[in-house]
Amino acid sequence: MFDSVLKIIKLINSEQDPMQLSLGFAFAMIVGMTPLLSLHNLLVLLLILVLRVNLSAFLLGWALFSGIAWMLDPWFHDFGTTILQHASLQSLWTDMYNNSLWRLTRFNNTVVMGSLAVSLAAFIPLVLLGNLLVRRYRVHVVGWVRSSRIGQAVMANNLFRRYQALRGMIGE
């Protein structure tokens, strides 16, 4: 049973494409910055499992963006309030408020609205930027680390070899 679970995990985490890494990061931004128990996060969960998205990047990004959300929470509240109280959007919000499914999304909560609006707006730019940065990183930084003496010493270490083996189990 345990081996089967590990195999599933290894399988779904075997992607290394920069686009997959940055997508993982971008989805983590949505989940990290918005309240966790929101309905849209169920959709995000579906997407990250079904699409070939790097889960390690997602988990790492989630931790990072949760910290950022803690700092930006008051600003999200203010931004969300501005959006929800905007005069030209009142009829839209009223229609959505009277729909059960939209009510479940808690769109009328100021923090949900503010954080979701920011994370959706930043989604595509983050994906593109992440993609670019990862490619640049692999070309310039990884090569330098591999060729450096410290890098070679670490890679020759037993502990590192065990780590590599574990990575082989859970990922690339």
């Binding site: 070939r52 959300a69 009277n98 059960s100």
Partner: protein, 619 residues
Amino acid sequence: MNRFIRWPGLLAFVLITGLIAGGTVLFAGKAVEKGIEIAGTQMVGAKVDVNKVSLSLSPLGFSIYRLQVTDPEQPMVNAFDVAEVDFHMDTMELLRLKTVITDMQIKGLQVNTPRKTSGAILRAEAKPEQAAETDAEEEKGGLPALNEVDVAAIFQREELASLEHINRLKVDLGQAREQWKSALAGMPNDEKINSYSQRISEVSFDRTGNTAEDLKQLEAARKTLKKLRAEIKGDMDHVSETRKELLLVNKTISSSAREAKTMAGQDVSRLREKYSLSPEGLGNISGLLFGEKVQLLLQDALVWYGKLMPIYRRFESSGVEEEDTRPERFAGRDIRFPEQRPMPDFLVRKAGVSMDLPVGKITGEIRNLTSDQSVLGHPLTFNLFSKEMHDVQDIEITGTFNHVDEANSRDNIRVVASHISLKELDVLKDDQFPLQMAAAKVNLEGDLELIGENLGAHVKTDFMETSFAIPFAEKPGAIAEGLAAAIKDVDAFNAEVVISGTIRKHGVSFTSSLDDVLKDAVGEQVRKAAAELEKNLRAELDQRLKGPRSELDKELAGLKKTADDLDKLRARLKKVDDEADQRRRELENKAKARTDTGKQKIKEKKDVLKDKLKDKIRF
């Protein structure tokens, strides 16, 4: 396609979602249990405990087992203790995040049950308006004296307006006397008056033979007399003014002293009313006997009303968010928009109640239980009844709490009960008359209404098969004994209670057919006792006033004598003045006579010269 999609992920999603759903179903009960405890504790201000909550999915609902709500004022007692609450929820409204309970059954509700652990919490919550403190308009508390009263003891502790008045007058008189001392010191004495007479007699006129010189002397004497008279007149005016003032003060204080007599009468009446059962007081003796009990029952009812208020009444304005305060982190604020089908956030459409009280079981129904009546548009109604109580044949309690429009709120409760059995009920705890209702059967019909802050109630009761006990600790006086004998003979009476005012300040009026019975029984004795007390009070007061009054009269008599002395002094000064005037007239007459003599001589000389001139011209 496979490049972008990993199909096993779909399986993982289904598994995870299933786990979450399963976990929700498994732990929903626990979550609701904690939610009720936390929210309930916050609302009540004391611990709310739940033993267990179980979830049912079809229909969607919960069962809460052993809900205990602590009485905030008695941490070791539960205000409410419910064995089981079952309710079903409206699923569609739940999707709109509204908790609408379509049907609720409350079983085994008890009140004031003991707790095993204290239900106090550290932080006291701010309570909404509680109708706990009331001021009865009747300031008269307790039974007046039924036994013989110690008059001396009364006077020792009571203030007497009449005595204070007389003492005040004495002080005023003393102050006035101090002011006159200097004025009286300046009055002319015998020596001065004699000197006036002496000076008058010294004014004289000696003839010199020279008319002009004589006239000069006379003029000087006249001026001296004029000056003297001015002095005497000044003294006379001073004496008159002082006498006038004295007489005025005498008159004022004498008139005030006469008021003391009226005030003495008022003192006697006041003390008599306070310390005795007056013939007028007999008209509402049942109010004195039962009033205290009625007040206590009303107080309890208002306290319970205050406790129930948060359930059906919101104290902050609903739908208006406070934008000045920041919400908690990650909580945000829910912005409300107009709803096509307005619904309160929490509503119980119908709740069946079953209460287990020490006296038996009461069942009933409550409809439209919500703190947002203005959103729902319907008031809360309730109907409780019982035919299974030990000491009550049947009872029905119906009512409406209408806060749809908070500005025009209206609560009313109607209670109809028949054959309530009372046993060993303490009616009045007073050493003079410890009245107990040993047994009775009561039919009761009452209406209570609260419109805004205005409270009104009307309760009619019929007492039947009554028996009273009055366990006197000591031998009672004649009135108490008469009352006890009369009341023991009563086996039926009716009573009416009328309450009016506000929650905090209201008047309670209690009347009953007992009044005539007791009035007839002890009316004559009460009248005699009241008359005797009045006589004793009057005698004691007269005795106490005698000394101060005679002192005041003495002072006033002294004042009158001084005024009379001043009058005599004034008469003497007038006499001296008359002497001076007489002297003046004498001198004026002398001056006139001298002038006439001079004129005559001049005329004679003139005639002689004329004759001589005539003779010379003839020749």
